[in-house]
């Protein structure tokens, strides 16, 4: 079956758009073909800086004929209906119609056949349409035709189109169409500088080979392979190591049709700038790779560039040119770095008074002040020195207004650390600049220094409490302020560092700190409008753990719980255990929640655990039903005098031992110990349900037995609500 070759040849396509464009082209053409009834065997798309290419092979030469059956009016129906039917179906008279009987009577049926079109004609229709509606992220008009409203838009000016269709054994045909003054044909061009002449192509096989001969590597993956292999080898040959960078590799491979990898160097004097700054400079601005010395693990004064041309001097001029630019860039970076070093971080803080963090949450300066207060509050809880923590929180964001971070935003925090160290700050204080942003994602490192932990928690909790207060919570897939990530960060900080924090109390405390900012803003607004200030710090509260807390704090706790469940689910752990723990109520210490969950998970993996759970569940169910029926709770101690059966007595006895033992273990937060103690209940519980009928005819006995069941439930509730656990 015949194949299609399509090439759209244009001026340089932005590297970042190439891969998606190739995929879009493949999808659009093949979808359209299938919609036209043309099922193909395979398709592959490619992109270089100057061309998008698609090959689709094994397309039928023509559409198959389309048989259609259309039901018409009833035999003997109204004349108008019959005329309408003939007209719509194109039949000359009713003689050409079939008659079909169905339960409602006899009907005319028209059998028409729509002959399939040659694929060449179909392609000539669909290709221009696809090109016209191609989904470039940004497209443009150009040239004389741009004055007309109908002019074609493309990512950059489109120059020529190759579109051929045909069998391997025959001369293929050009898919004929015209678009914006471009006529489709069989001519393309090779490399812009090394093979600019026109090339005539037939089909994909000779097209790809001729391009290769004309210094164009069509396949982006091959270009990447070449660059990576050559770069590694160049570095290795000098005893160094390429610092691999897949994102940069992607981009660089989209900037060349014929990759030539070369190595250059820069003045070793620049190695006095932090390595990250050197890398950012060389990578972001020059799209070159950096190289490290395996002996020291540090950067060396080398870089690797990818040129698009085999230069007549072997690349000497190109390397020299790139070295010159990198020197200027590094000289700029050094200027920025050294300028930054001249100003102390604390002296930069006044600048934050003019930087708005969020229009409803005040300035960055106010935010920093809040973080300082909260971090100081948290510090003793995580074993951090309060003064150091305050200092760290004060300085942690100061690098945002430095020159280097202005130039390379991705270096925020890290530069703060360098500047803090340079001005002689304590190592923990300096580290907090970088580490308080962490963890940024599931793969990111969690800080372990108490000072960093305190500031990191304060930073994230300020964000969460703040956006909760102004009702900017994440919805569905929308989370513009990355609040989910902040909450997960808090969870990991607490759990991995084994930190106990009562989140509801902390949120409540911080909400009142935030009220001060809101008050200030309300007053400022009132001043501007000349009116009175209505101080808007009213908030609703609810009862929680026997005290009034803000509804927002409680709501935020639930947000944490959901994140925790999600995280456990992702780790393959049982998130229903989280529900079992939380439904006890009053739990806002995530570390303890996780501990309980872990103990439960382990326990329920044992037979004792499984059976005990079944027993407790049964007890809870019975209690639930009876409590509802009687509209009362069966709390209070059972009366030993009312026990009639041995199994009852045995259970009561076991309870009397296990209850205090488990309670003591829970008090020591030894949840595993509590579970081990509870395991001892199992035989007694099993025997009880085997032999004892709870709803005894004697009301007093019945009540006593229900009270006993309640004791079991209560004892296990020291750790979790077993009834919430799924089987």
């Amino acid at each position: 079956m015949p194949d299609l070759l399509l090439e759209l040849f244009s001026e340089e396509i932005p590297a970042r758009m190439q891969a998606k464009a190739a995929e879009d082209l493949r999808r659009m053409v093949t979808d359209r073909l299938v919609a036209e009834g043309l099922v193909y065997e395979g398709a592959k798309a490619f992109a270089t800086p100057r061309r998008l290419t698609l090959t689709v092979h094994g397309i039928p030469a023509r559409q198959s004929d389309l048989k259609q059956e259309r039901k018409g009016p009833r035999v003997g129906g109204a004349e108008a209906a019959i005329q309408g039917f003939l007209k719509a179906t194109g039949l000359a008279s009713l003689d050409e119609a079939k008659i079909q009987r169905d339960p409602k009577g006899d009907f005319y049926i028209a059998l028409t056949e729509k002959p399939g079109k040659p694929t060449l004609d179909v392609l000539a229709e669909i290709l221009p349409m696809i090109i016209r509606t191609f989904p470039w992220p940004k497209s443009m008009r150009w040239g004389e035709r741009s004055a007309k409203p109908t002019s074609l838009t493309w990512v950059r000016p489109l120059h020529s189109i190759v579109a051929t269709f045909g069998l391997e054994t025959e001369e293929p045909e050009v898919v004929p169409f015209e678009l914006n003054g471009i006529t489709s044909g069989q001519t393309t061009r090779g490399h812009r500088f090394m093979a600019p002449a026109e090339i005539s192509v037939r089909r994909f096989e000779d097209y790809e080979a001729k391009l290769q001969a004309a210094k164009v590597v069509l396949d982006p993956q091959r270009r990447k392979d070449i660059i990576l292999a050559d770069a590694k080898e160049l570095a290795f040959a000098q005893g160094f190591e390429l610092v691999e960078d897949p994102v940069l590799l992607d981009e660089v491979s989209g900037l060349v049709e014929w990759p030539i990898v070369l190595m250059g160097s820069f003045d070793a004097e620049f190695l006095s700038i932090p390595g990250e700054v050197i890398r950012a400079t060389i990578r972001n601005n020059q799209k070159c790779f950096v190289v490290s010395d395996p002996k020291t693990g540090k950067l060396t004064n080398k870089f690797i560039l990818t040129a698009n041309i085999e230069a007549s001097d072997g690349g000497l001029a190109i390397v020299a040119g790139n070295e010159r630019v990198i020197r200027a860039r590094l000289s700029d970076a050094k200027f920025f770095y050294e300028t930054d070093l001249k100003t102390k971080l604390e002296d930069r803080l006044p600048k934050f008074e003019n930087i708005v963090f969020h229009e409803k949450l005040g300035t960055q300066a106010e935010r920093i002040a809040r973080i300082v207060r909260l971090a100081a509050e948290i510090a003793p809880l995580v074993g951090a020195d309060v003064e150091k923590t305050k200092r760290a929180a004060q300085l942690a964001k100061a690098d945002l207004v430095t020159e280097v971070v202005g130039e390379f935003p991705e270096l925020q925090g890290l530069m703060g650390k360098y500047y803090a160290l340079a001005q002689g700050e304590d190592a923990s204080v300096a580290a907090a600049s970088e580490d308080h942003y962490k963890p940024q994602g599931p793969a990111d490192r969690v800080p372990t220094d108490p000072v960093s932990i305190a500031v990191a928690l304060a930073d994230k909790i300020d964000t969460l409490v703040g956006f909760w207060a102004i009702d900017e919570k994440p919805t569905g897939s929308k989370d513009p302020f990355a609040l989910r990530r902040a909450a997960l960060g808090v969870i990991r900080l607490l759990v991995e560092n084994k930190i106990r924090l009562n989140l509801v109390s902390v949120s409540d405390f911080h909400s009142s700190v935030l009220d001060e900012t809101k008050m200030r803003m309300a007053q400022a607004k009132a001043k501007v409008s000349g009116g009175f200030s209505v101080i808007a710090n009213a908030h609703t509260t609810q009862l929680w753990n026997g005290r009034q807390v803000r509804v927002n704090s409680f709501d935020l706790l639930n947000f944490f719980v959901d994140r925790l469940k999600g995280q456990l689910r992702e780790q393959g752990a049982r998130h229903d255990l989280v529900d079992a723990v939380f439904s006890l109520g009053g739990q806002d210490d995530l570390l303890m929640v996780v501990r309980r969950v872990e103990a439960l998970a382990k326990f329920f993996d044992t037979d004792d655990g499984k059976n005990l759970r079944a027993g407790v569940k049964r007890a809870s169910n019975i209690l639930g039903i009876e409590e509802k029926k009687d509209k009362r709770a069966y709390d209070g101690a059972p009366d030993a005098a009312l026990f009639k059966l041995d199994e009852e007595k045995a259970l009561a006895k076991a309870m009397a031992e296990v209850g205090p033992e488990a309670g003591a273990a829970v008090a020591k937060e030894d949840f595993a110990g509590a579970m081990t103690a509870m395991a001892k209940l199992r035989p007694a519980v099993d025997a009880f349900f085997d032999k004892v009928k709870v709803n005894d005819d004697d009301a007093a006995v019945r009540e006593n037995r229900l009270k006993l069941l309640n004791e079991i439930r209560a004892a296990t509730r020291a750790v979790a609500d077993f009834s919430k656990i799924q089987d």
Binding site: G143, E144, A147, R156, F193, I309, A311, N322, S331, F335
Partner: protein, 311 residues
Amino acid sequence: MRPERSFQGFILALQRFWADQGCVILQPYDMEMGAGTFHPATTLRALGPKPWKAAYVQPSRRPKDGRYGQNPNRLQHYYQFQVIIKPSPPDLQDLYLKSLAAIGIDSSLHDVRFVEDDWESPTLGAWGLGWECWCDGMEVSQFTYFQQVAGVECSPVAGELTYGLERLAMYVQGVDRVYDLNFNGREGAEKVTYGDVFLQAEQEYSRHNFEHSDADMLFKQFTMAEEACKKYLDAGWKDNKREAHLMALPAYDQCIKASHVFNLLDARGVISVTERQSYIGRVRDLAKACGEAWMRTEAGGSSPSLRGESL
């Protein structure tokens, strides 16, 4: 005057090349501006249906780029060579490469690349798509197909080339520091370098731009230019009807002025982040109003019956 010998010879070679392509060779605009794009021969002439081809050198002032003469290729005052052709010809990329050859950049020896750089001037209300042109990793030119200028759709689209003259000349002369460029092509005692001409100026203006410029005065100048621009625009509408405009160019001068004063204030660090946006917006509003007025002038494509009229 060979282009690889002297900075001035280099400029002359570029001018000659574009003159041969039929461009009007203009002289620099006599006002301080951040880029050749601000020259009315680009900003305003890019608008409207009339064909236009021009090329010129434009001294460009970027107060924030001052480095006290320390940076090898970044200057707070440098020369741009600007080419504007409307409608954009189909072979503009080729013409650009030929112009490089004319100034001695051999594209079989150097790595010339077109790297995505979508140009946008928030102060001019303008945007276009195109590239930074790299020569061996150095950004030497900006290449743009204007899509919108002064808030007006370009119809037809103009192609704009902006060469960074010093950086290109450094290439061609093979020097590492801009201040080492040979300016006049002489050797020995008669040789004048770029540093001889501009190093002191870079140092003085860096001090001025970052440390001493009179911010109070500049704030006032900004407001004055803004008010004058609006005043001239109002007064320019013929017969008070918004059909024909008779003073778009003088009004636009004030927009250029406001833009440069803003750049000075910005370099001085006296504009806060929030205010910054509002200043940019104010300049843009002026630029847009000037563009709108220009479209109602003869050169902007409005009816020629205006010729010879006065206010």
